[in-house]
Amino acid sequence: MDSIFAKPIVQATQNVLSTMAMIDPKVDKPYIKKDKKALGDVTGVIGMTADNSKQGVMSVTFTKDCAVAIVKNLLGGEVEDLIQDVKDAVGEVTNMIAGQTRQNLEAIGINLSAATPTVVMGDNHSVSHVTEDKIIVIPFNTEHGTFVVEFSMKE
């Protein structure tokens, strides 16, 4: 089940960032993590439900430099309040990646619904998933730094 999600997530992430922020993220090998520790400085989190019963969470965690670069590219350099703009942009990027992933999954017969994203910032923040046993981590590299997309689903 888990591997089914990886490809749609990678496609969605690359499509959203290349289309909206002119950044082409390169994907690294996915792995499983078993704790809540965030792998970066700012995280967008979105709750999902599959088949109206299984609960899931998708999160996108950026390093500070990567988040700032994305905000600047999204807004054409017109950053007003850096912290507020980073928070807002990471929420919107998470929303778009989740939306595109859901669209990709629909094409292979998996229907997910999603909630509205929330954003957590700060050194050593944590990311709450629906399970701590099996969180899929998909790492990405960009010329501005790294970020990860995480996904978990309670079977």
Partner: protein
């Protein structure tokens, strides 16, 4: 048909980033008469006190969603024919069908390019 670039456009999205992205694209397309709102409730207030010619709205927003706003617009006597473009992350078939049934003029799934926005606007106003 020539599009009136001076028409008053209302951009509705709860994320300031997306409002600014859409407004920047509209500016590039020489639409400079643009106002914005952060959800459907505020948008409805603006529609009732300002002279709006075209609405570009997100779907998922607190208080009043874009779909609720669309239905309210279509059910009103005054704004029933308002051109209404939905720009949303909701790309699943059932959502698109729901929006079409509610009377959306056109529909864009995020992410999008400036060219997509331009083409969808042209399609709306050439009808």
């Amino acid at each position: 048909m020539t599009i009136d670039r001076n028409m008053r456009v209302l951009v509705v999205d709860d994320f300031s980033t997306m409002r600014r992205i859409v407004k920047n694209i509209l500016k590039q397309l020489e639409f400079n008469n643009v106002v914005d709102a952060d959800d459907g409730t505020t948008a409805w207030e603006i529609l009732n006190k300002d002279k709006i010619d075209f609405v570009i709205s997100d779907w998922n927003m607190p208080k009043m969603s874009g779909l609720e706003l669309l239905k309210k617009v279509r059910n009103s006597e005054e704004f029933a024919d308002m051109p209404f473009l939905m720009v949303t992350a909701e790309g699943q078939q059932e959502h698109i069908i729901e929006a079409v049934q509610a009377g959306v003029s056109n529909y864009i799934v995020k992410p999008f390019t400036p060219e997509t926005i331009e083409q969808k606007i042209e399609k709306i106003f050439e009808k």
